[in-house]
């Protein structure tokens, strides 16, 4: 009886192993292969990204591209943000990067300086479809390393002021508009803080938080000669204004990423800063879509909204540089950018195409996101961004919890950040 068990088990095992070694889903072994059963010579390109929301729209675009280019097959691979970079790094180390993939300001330096990306400069110059002057220069510059262009800009995102219309109505306040100043923000927050609701969410977050205020006050996070701007008096002033909301009881103390959006949904806060990428999530949430709208950020001595943009990069060792370029060229062309905007995938970076994006969402006043790019400030970055952003958080945290003064925390942040910058 026992023998039969064993034999059965071994047979099953054998069958599975045979299946394992021969199968391989659609991709087969390696990166370039025919799409199951296709006898025509199609080039398959691996296209990697990290946002499954955008993937839906991009799949539509990929399908359209494949129709126009029947010799090509685009295979989209979605990986979550954290794992995306581990995946990419493993690929880079082993020599098997995806053919086309998203690039971000945090990582561009590492990949470009190590020669992991294909130099696109010549191709761009020769191309009639991709015109770098049509993109916000800040974004173009991110993906330019030592004079060579390594990625084509894809989109941009800005930070907006989200506010609860119902609460404003109840308090008889007029909605935030482009004339709002810091004082308006503060006063409104004061009026709205009551009955367990806080007027404003001064969350412990940089891009969707105090960075904006820093630049609105004329301060900076990183200077042109790569020194920390945290000890700039204007920066400290802005930080103090920001933390004041917490100190004066107008803002809850929120530190975690997930808790910030929850604060909006749960009706805990009446206003908060959130980036345009939250749009699909907010639209899907009944509470937010019914009660909230978005406005431009208030101004102080300056207007500012932190903006950033992704780029499309090609692997330096892709087997199909020409094909990959054809695809990227399409994505970065006016046509591709318009399509991206139409489908509501992201705010296309190509001049004028963002208008199409605005009409893709009728729930909120999303026009404001596009308006703000005129005075947008590129999200501060350098070679070791990941390091000093974390270190700065660690240094500033005690200021938010009230253990030390904002000034002291800011000086600490500056010191640690400079240490990191010095190693670059």
């Amino acid at each position: 009886m026992k023998q039969r068990w064993l034999v059965g088990l071994l047979a099953l095992l054998l069958a599975l192993m045979m299946a394992a070694c021969s199968s391989g889903g659609n991709a087969g072994n390696g990166d370039a292969g025919d799409k199951g059963g296709d006898s025509s010579k199609k080039t398959t390109l691996r296209f990697a990204l990290w946002d499954s929301n955008q993937a839906k729209g991009l799949q539509v675009m990929a399908n359209e591209f494949m129709e126009d280019n029947p010799d090509m097959n685009i295979q989209i691979e979605v990986t979550g943000w954290m794992d995306y970079w581990t995946m990419l790094e493993a690929g880079a180390t082993g020599g098997s990067l995806p053919d086309v993939f998203w690039m971000h300001s945090n990582e561009i330096y590492r990949y470009a300086s190590n020669g992991m990306l294909l130099d696109l400069t010549d191709r761009i110059n020769k191309s009639s479809k991709v015109d770098l002057s049509k993109f916000p220069q800040g974004i173009v510059e991110i993906y330019n390393h030592e004079g060579k262009q390594y990625a084509v800009p894809k989109d941009f995102d800005t930070i907006g002021l989200w506010y609860n219309k119902k609460l404003f109505d109840e308090a008889n306040l007029s909605y935030p508009d482009e004339n709002w100043t810091w004082d308006d923000l503060y006063n409104a927050a004061k009026v709205l803080t009551k009955d367990g609701v806080y007027g404003f969410l001064a969350a412990f977050h940089n891009q969707e938080g105090y960075y904006n205020f820093v630049y609105q006050n004329g301060g900076t996070i990183i200077t042109k000669d790569k020194k920390s701007g945290y000890d700039d008096p204007k920066t400290i002033e802005a930080l103090e204004f920001y933390v004041k909301f917490i100190r004066d009881g107008l803002s809850p103390q929120i530190y975690g990423d997930a808790e910030r959006a929850e604060a909006l949904q749960n009706g805990l806060v009446a206003m908060g800063l959130f980036g345009s990428w939250n749009l699909s999530g907010f639209t899907a949430n009944e509470f937010i879509s019914e009660n909230f709208d978005v406005a431009v950020l208030p101004k102080n001595t300056h207007r500012a909204s932190i903006y950033n943009g992704l780029g499309y990069a090609i692997a330096h060792n892709t087997k199909y540089p020409d094909e990959a370029w054809r695809f990227v060229e399409y994505l970065g062309s006016k046509e591709g950018q318009e399509r991206q905007a139409e489908l509501g995938v992201a705010i296309s970076a190509y001049e004028g195409t963002a208008e199409k994006w605005i009409s893709s969402n009728d729930k909120f006043n999303v026009k404001v996101f596009v308006d703000m790019v005129d005075y947008g400030v590129i999200r501060p970055y350098s070679k070791t961004t990941a390091v000093w952003e974390d270190k700065a958080y660690e240094a500033l945290r005690p200021a938010f919890t009230g253990e030390i003064s904002v000034e002291e925390a800011a000086r600490n942040a500056a010191r640690i950040m400079n240490e990191s910058l010095a190693t670059e």
Partner: protein, 276 residues
């Protein structure tokens, strides 16, 4: 006097039930949430247990958007291979470490323990590079690769083998068995409960491994359930009902398998009761 056993039985059940409640609470919420609206799922003020309407659409949506059939197939294939091979290899080594004497025994067992002491994250990239070099990315082989051998399993089964009486081997020898036969036919069956426990754990760890399949099998078709769940997370970052739906769809096969194998467990009691 006759009340005493009754009272103690009731107390035991009270204890077990309250423990069970704490264990199961998160899952009850999880399953219920898969039927709620987004607002209901995040509303804690007031806090919502039962959905006002049973929305089945999440299941339809999530099922359609993620090719769960292929996910199930890949995950189970990965699990089956790992369980069979893993348990077999561990049992072989465990037997040798426990009952045989040979040079290098302490050293190699030390290696086994050594492997357990290191955080698994350091294995990811080197193992990825190995699979890449063999050109086996995006295959089931890649998913199975790291789980073929188990230090944990070897250590566990060694403990079980150590407990068995020495006379058994001598008796087997007298019957004309060589060491291999002794192992396979005599000793192995006696560690049945250990084998089943190990089988359950191997299946479990294989199922839950997120990172590995994510990097190595990047096409959605070759992905596994847990990693597909991880990808879904970043998309539906605020959409709890769909997230919970995906989670339920991801774990129910595992629960079924566990429940089935767990029966085997009980039989283990009745047989070992009559042992020796």
């Amino acid at each position: 006097m006759s009340y005493k056993p009754m009272v103690s039985r009731i107390l035991i059940h009270v204890f077990l039930i309250s423990g069970a409640c704490t264990m199961i609470l998160p899952f009850v919420w999880m399953v219920l949430t898969s039927f709620k609206t987004v607002a209901e799922s995040t509303s804690m003020n007031p806090f919502v247990w039962l959905p006002s309407e049973w929305k089945w659409e999440h299941y339809i949506n999530v099922w359609r958007q993620n090719n769960f059939l292929i996910l199930y197939v890949n995950t189970f294939a990965m699990m089956a291979i790992r369980v069979i091979l893993g348990v077999l290899f561990s049992a072989m080594a465990a037997y040798a470490f426990a009952r045989l004497r040979f040079p290098g025994r302490s050293f190699f067992f030390g290696l086994v323990l050594f492997q357990m002491m290191v955080p698994t994250q350091i294995f990811i990239i080197p193992q990825y590079l190995m699979v890449d070099a063999l050109n086996m990315r995006n295959t089931i082989f890649a998913l199975v690769f790291p789980g073929l051998v188990s230090a944990f399993g070897t250590f566990l089964l060694r403990q079980f083998f150590l407990v068995l009486p020495k006379e058994l081997e001598e008796a087997a020898k007298l019957d004309g068995c060589n060491i291999g036969q002794t192992f396979l036919l005599v000793m192995l069956p006696l560690t049945r409960s250990g084998l089943v426990a190990l089988g359950i754990f191997t299946a479990l760890f294989a199922f839950k491994e997120l990172m590995w399949p994510l990097i190595v099998n990047t096409s959605a078709d070759a992905a596994t359930l847990s990693s597909a769940l991880a990808k879904i997370q970043s998309a539906y970052s605020v959409h709890y009902p769909e997230l919970m739906t995906a989670a339920v769809l991801a774990i129910w096969p595992m629960m079924l398998v566990y429940f089935l194998f767990q029966r085997q467990f009980i039989e283990g009691i009745s047989t070992s009761g009559g042992k020796l």
